[in-house]
């Protein structure tokens, strides 16, 4: 008597021919590309939020240096005017060392230490978050009270930056979608090839009373395994690359690069990609098999 206990390999002997052997490799590449695109989109999400938090409801007032007028009283006048305007939460003069620190990357430390450079006065203005304040009206009042005062409103360029960020995010999402469609197309191709190679066996199973779902489940199990194997390899490679980029970015410094910062749930979303690939492969294989089998008796 036989000592074997295990359920046999699939009735359809999937994986025995070359029709689907490329699938794990192709899905590994797809998950790798999708992970990079998704990581980019998610990192941008964090950056956009950071930009918004940093400069929303903020204005900078710049008072040009005039040799005939001392800076301190002009700053004091400007702050007094600002405090009188409804919607202004605070107006704080920026200390000279902070202004020098801002200029140092462009002018160099030596030029600043030598002194004699006419530096503008800067005032950090914070607005109430729900303020409907007109920046143009505020600028006009300041100009009238303190000649040479200019208001730097970051909102217009921030809006353009956010728009660009959102566009890049959409591009990332589009790439993930395209990669998903390409992966589904490959699963369809491999499944059809597998069905064509097993037409006789499938007919035999049908004649023994197999329902289409019985045959589809064997394909589903097979492609799920392939997708998981490929997906894990792809996400592993992508995580290595992302970790490398993050390390390099941290060495370059945060001032010049929009930092690639991923929150914990971003990493979690990336780790879900192999499962998503397996889910996509299962659904695609099932629909393909059931669609093809409907044409058989």
């Amino acid at each position: 008597m036989s000592a074997r206990k295990a359920r046999p390999v699939s009735d359809l002997q999937l994986g025995a021919d070359s029709s689907g052997r490329f699938l794990p490799w192709a899905l590994a590449v797809m998950v790798f590309l999708a992970a990079l695109a998704l990581a980019g989109a998610l990192a941008l999400d964090g950056s956009i939020d950071g930009w918004r938090r940093g400069v929303a409801a903020k204005l900078t007032v710049q008072i040009a240096d005039r040799p005939d007028q001392p800076m301190a009283p002009r700053i004091g006048r400007a702050i007094a005017v600002l405090h009188d305007i409804p919607g202004v939460k605070s107006a704080v003069p920026m200390p000279r060392p902070a202004i020098e620190a801002l200029l140092e990357p462009w002018l160099g430390a030596d030029a600043l230490q030598a002194g004699g450079l006419p530096l503008p006065g800067l005032i950090d203005v914070t607005l109430d978050e729900d303020s409907a304040l007109s920046v143009a009206a505020l600028a006009a009042r300041l100009q009238a009270a303190v000649p040479g005062a200019q208001v730097d409103d970051p909102k217009p360029w921030l809006d353009r930056l956010v728009q660009l960020g959102r566009l890049l995010q959409s591009l990332g999402g589009g790439i993930v979608l395209l990669v998903g469609l390409a992966a589904a197309a490959m699963v369809i191709f491999a499944t059809r090839a597998g069905l064509a190679a097993r037409r006789d066996t499938i007919e035999l199973l049908h004649l023994m009373g197999a329902e289409d779902g019985y045959i589809a489940r064997q394909f589903q199990r097979h492609v799920a395994g392939q997708a998981l194997r490929g997906g894990v390899a792809g996400i592993f490679a992508a995580l290595l690359i992302l970790a490398g980029i993050q390390l390099l970015a941290s060495r370059v410094g945060t001032g010049l690069l929009p930092g690639l910062s991923l929150a914990w749930w971003h990493w979690l979303a990336l780790l879900v990609l192999p499962l998503a690939a397996a889910g996509l492969a299962i659904v695609t294989a099932r629909r393909t098999v059931l669609g093809e089998l409907r044409r058989m008796l």
Binding site: M1, S2, R4, R7, P8, V9, D11, Q13, A16, D200, T201, E203, L204, L205, H206, L207, M208, G209, A210, E211, Y214, R294, L297
Partner: protein
């Protein structure tokens, strides 16, 4: 149980290979199917095991009109039919045990009971020591016995066998016929296509005789003109 009324069948746009075929199979009946090569035996069997639909006429099986039955209704009907194919159609990558177990697994039977049942049947047909053998290592007669075991394992209501004793020695042929007769006594209707005139003479079951696509039934079961 099975009723054919004026059934015609053609492959694609070709000529009719079966014409005006009418007959009934009662539960527990036993019929031989005889006729020269090309007479339409295989086509008639294909209609019976639901691999083809008729071009015309009415086929009723187990109380259902299969000419118009939906695809989703066919699996349950097919599970009541066992088929022994002339070319066996065993799955080469599966062992004898797994080939025979297929109909039960497809029907979702319990795995432990399936194994026990399959081992018992394969032992009965003399293949108890060949459970793990794959078809490539089996002789023609052994393959035939595996094919027969697979066809009868689920105790079908209708068994269709195409030359089931063609590749075995007379002793094993007798043993297999005994299996068919025992199964028939338990209520399975059997249609057995054969060229073997001795078989027809020995068992004297009614003979469905096909010639040129037309069917005549010899209810007295005489053997002489089988082929």
């Amino acid at each position: 149980m099975v009723r054919f009324q004026n059934v015609g069948m053609r492959y694609g746009p070709g000529p009719e290979v079966l014409r005006d075929v009418s007959f009934e199979l009662a539960p527990g009946s036993f019929h031989f199917l005889a006729g020269p090569s090309g007479a339409g035996k295989t086509s008639l069997l294909k209609l019976l095991y639901l691999a083809h639909r008729p071009s015309r006429g009415l086929i009723s099986m187990f109380g259902q009109d299969v000419s118009t039955a939906s695809r989703s209704a066919l699996p349950m009907l097919r599970r009541r039919i066992g088929v022994v194919f002339q070319d066996f159609r065993l799955l080469d990558h599966l062992t004898a045990l797994d080939n025979v177990a297929l109909p039960l697994r497809i029907a979702g039977a319990d795995e432990k009971r399936t194994r026990d049942h399959v081992i018992e049947l394969l032992t009965w047909v003399g293949l108890g020591d060949r459970l793990d053998a794959r078809p490539a290592t089996l002789s023609g007669g052994e393959k035939q016995r595996v094919a027969i075991a697979r066809a009868v394992i689920a105790r079908p209501s209708l068994l269709l066998a195409d030359e089931p004793t063609g590749n075995v020695d007379p002793e094993m042929a007798g043993r297999l016929m005994y299996l068919f007769v025992e199964l028939n006594k338990l209520g399975t209707a059997i249609v057995l296509a054969t060229h073997d005139t001795h078989l027809l003479q020995d068992f004297r079951f009614p003979v469905m005789r096909l010639r040129g696509g037309q069917l005549a039934i010899d209810r007295n079961g005489t053997g002489g003109a089988a082929a």
